[in-house]
């Protein structure tokens, strides 16, 4: 039971990082990405590559993963953010589909469909973290650091520019804001922080393969943000916790077919997304029919 709870807390922390970083671009900058799992995956593969070839110290793996995530997101964001929001949705969907092919074909780095096994534990200044009761501290502290960074950014002048852009791009541009630049920076920051979650995930499971970084994962993360509450700090965490608890809740209900838990989970959050958009676009945490938050 204790192991089960620890595992759950670790996964909720990792997914909370993913949801919070996606919320940073979705909720505050109004950029809708269907490729969040790609940066999660890039972080995981880059971190693993460094850990197995050079050093498992987080002072090497984390920067390597963050740089890889940031560079890739820059390549996507630079052209796709010069134009309207629909273009970014399309480009990120394309990137997600392409990335799954690359993750399963680039066997020397990603191990192909079989994935990579025996990923070394996190090495924090010579101290190896692999026991769940130690790892849980690392992920929770990681989450707190990421939340702190996002919180500082959101409440800085940069964050105000982001919200100005979300609410009206032309107004922000008229006030002299460089809209494409600000959006691009926000995507790069978000992707670099997402890669951190990838490193933690890889060394926690000590096994990764392409299954964890598919479009389904991107959709799951997006559902966490939307159901929890876009543009709020607590929303993505509540969303992550809710959606990760959902499979265990479903398995308590005996009348549902147990083999279809994955499908039932997806149906519930798909329906949840649609119903929330009709009745409560701000999500669970957001105010009902508010003008900020999820709308616009």
């Amino acid at each position: 039971m204790e192991a089960y709870l620890l595992n759950l807390v670790i996964l909720i922390s990792i997914y909370s990082i993913l949801a919070s970083t996606l919320n940073f671009i979705m909720g505050y900058a109004g950029i809708y990405s269907l490729a969040h799992a790609v940066f999660f995956g890039v972080g995981a593969y880059a971190g693993t590559f460094v850990a197995t070839h050079f050093s498992a110290s987080i002072f090497f793996t984390l920067p390597a993963a963050m740089i890889a995530g940031a560079v890739l997101s820059l390549i996507l964001a630079l052209p796709a953010l010069r134009v309207r929001g629909e273009y970014f949705v399309a480009a990120s969907l394309g990137l997600q589909v392409l990335a799954v092919t690359i993750f399963s074909e680039w066997k020397s780095v990603t191990g192909g469909i079989g994935g990579l096994i025996g990923i070394p534990p996190l090495d924090i200044a010579g101290f190896e973290v692999f026991k769940p009761n130690q790892f849980v501290f690392v992920t929770v502290v990681g989450l707190i650091i990421v939340l702190f960074i996002i919180n500082r950014l959101v409440h800085s002048s940069f964050g105000r520019s982001l919200r100005a852009i979300r609410d009206s791009e032309s107004a922000a541009a008229a006030f002299g804001k460089n809209v494409p630049l600000i959006k691009t920076i926000s995507v790069v920051i978000s992707s670099a922080l997402t890669a951190v979650a990838g490193v933690m995930y890889a060394s926690y499971l000590s096994f990764i393969n392409v299954e964890s970084f598919t479009l389904d994962t991107s959709v799951l993360i997006m559902a966490m943000v939307i159901i929890g509450g876009t543009g709020t700090q607590a929303g993505p965490i509540i969303g992550a916790a809710l959606l990760l608890l959902l499979p265990s809740l479903i398995s308590y209900l005996d009348f549902l077919p147990q083999t279809e838990i994955g499908s039932i989970q997806q149906i519930i959050y798909g329906l949840g997304m649609a119903l929330l958009m009709i009745y409560r676009p701000g999500g669970i945490v957001g105010l009902k029919k508010q003008s900020g938050g999820g709308k616009k």
């Binding site: 109004g30 809708y32 052209p79 796709a80 010069r82 134009v83 309207r84 929001g85 629909e86 273009y87 949705v89 399309a90 480009a91 969907l93 394309g94 990137l95 589909v97 392409l98 092919t101 399963s104 074909e105 479009l215 959709v219 997006m222 559902a223 939307i226 279809e260 499908s263 039932i264 997806q266 149906i267 959050y269 798909g270 329906l271 949840g272 997304m273 649609a274 958009m277 009709i278 676009p281 029919k289 999820g294 709308k295 616009k296």
Partner: protein, 289 residues
Amino acid sequence: MLALQLTITGLQTGALYALTAVGFSLIFGSTRIFHFAHGATFIIAAYLFYFVNVSGYGVVLGIAAATAGAIAFGLLLNRFVYVPIQRDEGSFFTVFVASFGIGIVIQNIVGMIFGRGFVTVQTPLSFSVELMDGLYVSPLAWISMLCAVVFFGILWCFLRYSNLGLSLRALADNPELVKAFGLNPRYISACAFTIGSILVVPAAIISGATSGLNPAMGHHVMLISLAATIVGGIGSVAGTLLAGLALGLAESLALLYVDSQWTEAVTFAILFLFIIVRPSGLLGRSAAH
């Protein structure tokens, strides 16, 4: 000879892509609704045809069921999801998320009923005939191209000459003005959804016999539709048609150089190139901002 073979296969794929993408483009262009569940319409039509066909009711009933299912889904979604959201000035975001959510629900319901693996519609029409030495073409290739020509011919006449077609184009230009002229935008939107959903049906049915069906293929359909809409130029039905055809051809001809798992990479490369070089698309009228 391989190049010719791939060109014909590419035209077949491209004709189906064009039909699907024009359906999305027409809805998006005239109503500004980011109908991400267009992929789900495709799934519903394809599996309804498959179900009716497998149960032994024949092709005609199958086509009728697929068409009815596609139209019903489009209209219900418009009436019970998009209209309520737009009532309080729903943004691009709210509409997209709701549409996306419904798409996930449909994908999983279909997966639970029919299984998540591939299924294929069995028909003698998919057997290839040797036209020339080393050139194999199945009758379905000609049927796909014929469907595209017929459907686009009707669509073009409809948009050009009928009053309803005119009001559809008017809605794309200026919804307020449409209201001022005493037309009902909600009625016109419903028509756009009907036509857009019908356009998916031939592609859905033929794909069932050629490439096979899988509940998760809605995302692929959406990627193609979005790419063709952007490459063709948002708001331009003719541009989307050309782009859909070109994407199908490019995917097929790319097989001369790369393995088949990279065909989606070709679509992505073309989309990305257009976003960088020409965001307004092939036939787009204004800048994309």
